[in-house]
Structures are given as structure tokens and as C-alpha cells.
């Protein structure tokens, strides 16, 4: 078979072009209404100058404005992209800032005969305020008290200090000190201790200084104001839990000196205080029963009565002061009843 040349290809295709289908162009023309002029343009071809004029006519003011605004829109595109990027950044950073705010939450104590506890947010505004009674373990229990009060803000705090919420620290402290004055908690010569507890000690000191400024407006001339800003841990670098169990252990006859107790871990101190379970209430029950166990050990008959306590009772029986026989019986009975 012959090889096809390029010229042949072109020739054949050109021929195909010559036989292009014919269409009825008159039918198309007849479809259109003849007398309506679609656009008023001269029949002559446009010269260069006319073209320029035409261009000028086309780009009248409004169109120019629209063209320029369209250009402006194109210019703004990167700005929109930036705005979107900023929104994304804000969306990711916001949760971080919330956690920072939480970490800057501060508790402010005004200690005199009564203690007023204020919960202050990072902007220095009061979120919750309460009087904390029966402070047995110093500031740390006051902290717990304030937290409890903050949790029940509607019931307790707002009844006590309804006007302090969302006030500035200075104003809130002034009102609180005024309240203590009227109550008689701030007599002449009484030491008014203003202390703050916060994760950031520098921030805590700032809040304490602001509180001092507020307190100075209301206290009498002789009242001494002591200001301290602390981190959450105490000055002895002790956790709240350890402080709690240490205070409790000091009240018990454990046979250890205070220094020795301080060197122990919180867990050991807890054991010393007699807590073994997870919840404090249950532990207290156990503690009561353990005491009974000791007594029963001495009598040698306590096993039956305390069988429900199971292992706990048995363990304490061993530690008790009772005789050997008594301990053995108690353990045996206790385990059986437990099973």
C-alpha cells in the first residue's frame, strides 16, 4: 500500500472543507424582525479616531467607576485572604487564651476576725464573693471554702455580697472591708491580712496591691494591713492535701514530731490519719469502725460485731492494742463474714 504524503492529507481535508454543509441562512434572517435596528452604528468602517471616540463613549463615568471598582475588588482579594487567615488564628488561639485566663484566676482573702474570700478573674473583676466561717486550716481551707461558695454562687454568695460581682477589686475590697467594719470584725489594732493565691505569683501580688488600695479607703487609722501574694502552694512548698492531713495528724497522737510529719508524703500522712478508701466520708466511717476494732481486740469478742468491716477491720485489729488471741479471733471472723 502507498504511503500517505502530508500534501495528500492537506488536500483531502481541504476538499472536505469545500463540501461543508449549507444551511438556510435566509430562514435565519426571516426569523428576525427586520425593522428593529439592534444597535446604532454607522455603516462605514470605523476610522482609528472614531474607534477612540467609541471607546470613550463606551467607558463613560459609570462604566469607568465599575471598572475601577472591579479592579479594586481584585486588589482586595489578598486582604480577604488575610482576614480569613486571621479568623483561623483567632479560632485556634482563643481556646489557649481561655486556658490562660483560667490559670490567672485569683483568690483574694481578707482575714480579720472573719474571712472574706473573693474570686477574681484575670481582668481584676470579682466573679464570686463569700464569707468563709470556721477556717480551721488557714488559707488553704479558705481556698476550698471559696471554691465551694463559687460553685453555689446563686445560693450563698449572692445572698452575702450581691453587689460585689463584676466589680473591680478595689471597689469590692472596699465594700467588703466596710461590711467587716460594720459587723465589728475590724476593731482598732486588729490586723487585716489581705492575701492572694494565684498560679502566677507576680500577678497575685499585683491583685493584692490593688486590694490594699481598696481596703485603705475604709479601714480605721490604727488598723494594720498586711499584704501578700502567693502561688497556690504554701510557703513551705506544701500541697493543700498534705497541709490538710498534716494539720489533722498533728492533732492525733501519732508518735512523730512535727518535723518528721512534714517530711512524710501526703499519702503516708493520709494513712496515718486513718483514711484508706477514695472518699473522705467512707474513710471517716472506716476510721470510726477501726476505733471500735481496737477496743474489741482488747476484749477479744469484737470479731462478730465488726464482721461487716471485712479487711479494714482485720487490719486495724492487727494494729490494735488487744491481746494476741483477740486479734486472731477478730481476723478469722471478719474474713468469714466478708466472704
Amino acid at each position: 500500500m502507498k504511503k500517505i504524503r502530508q500534501n495528500k492529507i492537506k488536500e483531502v481535508l481541504r476538499e472536505a472543507g469545500n463540501y461543508a454543509p449549507k444551511i438556510d441562512i435566509k430562514a435565519i434572517i426571516d426569523k428576525q424582525p427586520k425593522n428593529i435596528s439592534i444597535c446604532s452604528v454607522n455603516n462605514k468602517p470605523l476610522s482609528k479616531n472614531q474607534k477612540k471616540q467609541k471607546v470613550k463613549i463606551i467607558f463613560n463615568k459609570k462604566q469607568e467607576e465599575s471598572v475601577s471598582s472591579a479592579k479594586g475588588k481584585i486588589k482586595f482579594k489578598p486582604i480577604f485572604a488575610l482576614a480569613v487567615a486571621l479568623c483561623l488564628i483567632v479560632a485556634t488561639v482563643f481556646p489557649l487564651s481561655v486556658s490562660l485566663i483560667n490559670s490567672l484566676n485569683t483568690l483574694l482573702y481578707i482575714d480579720a476576725a472573719d474571712t472574706v474570700v473573693l474570686s477574681v478573674d484575670y481582668t481584676g473583676k470579682v466573679k464570686a464573693a463569700a464569707i468563709v466561717d470556721n477556717i480551721q486550716n488557714g488559707q488553704l481551707n479558705a481556698l476550698t471554702g471559696a471554691k465551694t461558695c463559687a460553685a453555689n454562687a446563686d445560693d450563698n454568695i449572692q445572698k452575702t455580697f450581691p453587689n460585689l460581682k463584676n466589680k473591680k477589686v478595689e471597689e469590692a475590697v472596699a465594700s467588703a472591708v466596710d461590711y467587716l467594719n460594720k459587723k465589728g470584725s475590724l476593731d482598732d489594732g486588729v490586723e487585716l491580712i489581705i492575701s492572694t493565691v494565684c498560679k502566677n505569683s507576680g500577678y497575685a501580688k499585683k491583685i493584692a496591691d490593688r486590694a490594699k488600695r481598696g481596703a485603705e479607703q475604709k479601714v480605721s487609722f490604727d488598723t494594720v494591713i498586711v499584704v501578700a501574694g502567693n502561688t497556690k502552694k504554701t510557703e513551705q512548698n506544701m500541697s493543700p492535701a498534705k497541709q490538710k492531713y498534716l494539720n489533722e495528724a498533728l492533732t492525733l497522737d501519732t508518735g512523730y514530731t512535727k518535723e518528721q510529719l512534714e517530711s512524710f508524703s501526703a499519702g503516708f500522712l493520709r494513712k496515718l490519719c486513718g483514711y484508706t478508701g477514695n472518699s473522705d466520708d467512707k474513710d471517716k466511717e472506716n476510721k470510726d469502725n477501726n476505733g471500735k476494732g481496737n477496743n474489741n481486740g482488747e476484749n477479744g469478742n469484737g470479731g462478730e460485731n465488726n464482721g461487716n468491716n471485712g479487711d479494714d477491720k482485720g487490719d486495724n485489729g492487727n494494729n490494735g492494742n488487744g491481746g494476741e488471741k483477740g486479734n486472731g479471733d477478730n481476723n478469722g471472723k471478719g474474713n468469714k463474714d466478708g466472704n
Binding site: M1, K2, K3, I4, R5, Q6, K8, I9, K10, V12, L13, R14, E15, A16, G17, N18, Y19, A20, P21, K22, I23, I25, K26, I28, I29, K31, Q32, K34, N35, I36, S37, I38, C39, S40, V41, N42, N43, K44, P45, L46, K51, K54, I58
Partner: protein, 183 residues
Amino acid sequence: MLNNQLQLALQKIAAGDTDALETVYNLTYKKVYAVSLSLLKNRQNAADAMQETYEKILLNIGRYNKFDNPEGWIVTIAKNISYDILRRKKNDAPYEDFENLLSVESKTADKEACADIIKAAYKILSEEERQILFMHTIGDFKHREIALALKKPYASVRWIYAQSVKKLQRQLNQGSEKTDEEN
């Protein structure tokens, strides 16, 4: 010269003289056919596209103000209509009537050769290559006119055209060699 005639005819249509469409048709029907055929792969559909193209020229003449590239404008209309038809008829099986591209009086050998060339063009050439090849051969476009209509550099158009013809030749000759070997 042709562009001037075309411009004049279009300006007449714009002025309301719709009879000038006949002049436009006579000047451009091959070109419109070439563009449509390169996309539609079917003579009948290409004829439909031509019909719609001239209707659209009449309808949209008011929007066409510059009159500087009339062929480009018409080619664009033809391309868009061809794409529309492709979209509309995409589910229809293509009707390959390539033998009918030449007249009834043409030689049978030429008809077969034409069918082979067109088939090969659809098979191996890209849309752009096919368009340029058809525009130059079937549509009688000059390379410069193709460059203007497709808004491509003149040199690129020439190069693409030459490559397309070479590709076609190679393909067709390979096919003939295979049939020779088989015989």
C-alpha cells in the same frame, strides 16, 4: 481584505440590515464548519452548530462593539455552541459519518482516505491540534488568522499545525504498514 468585508457586513447587521448576514455566512461558513467539526466529530451536529452560530450572531450583534477581530468573535461563538451541543448530546452514541464528508461525486479512494484521516485525527490529536489543523485545512484559515482567533502566538500555531500533520502521517502510514504485513 476579508476581515474588512466581514467587519462591514457585521456593522450593517448591527445597523439593522439583517440581509448582510448572508455575506457573513458566505465569508465564514467554512471556518465555522471547521471549528464545529473539530469538536463535534459529526457532520450533522456540525451543521446544527453552524445554524445556531449564525442565529446567535444576529442575536448578539448588539453586544459586539469593537469590530476589531470579527473572525475571533465568530469562532468563539461557534466553539461555545459546539460545547453546548456536546453537553446536550453527550449520552447519544456518536454517529461517525466520515465517508460523507466529501461529495457524492468524489472518488471512492479519496472518500476512504478522508474517513481514515478524520478518524486518525480524532484518535491521536489533541483538541487544540485538531482545531488548528481543521481550521487551516477545512476552514481555509491562515495561520495568522488562527493565531488571532484563538489568541495564540503565531509561531505556536504554525508549530502545532506542522506537528499535527506529521503525527497524522505517521499514524496513517503505521496503519498501512500493518495491513501490508497482515496481507
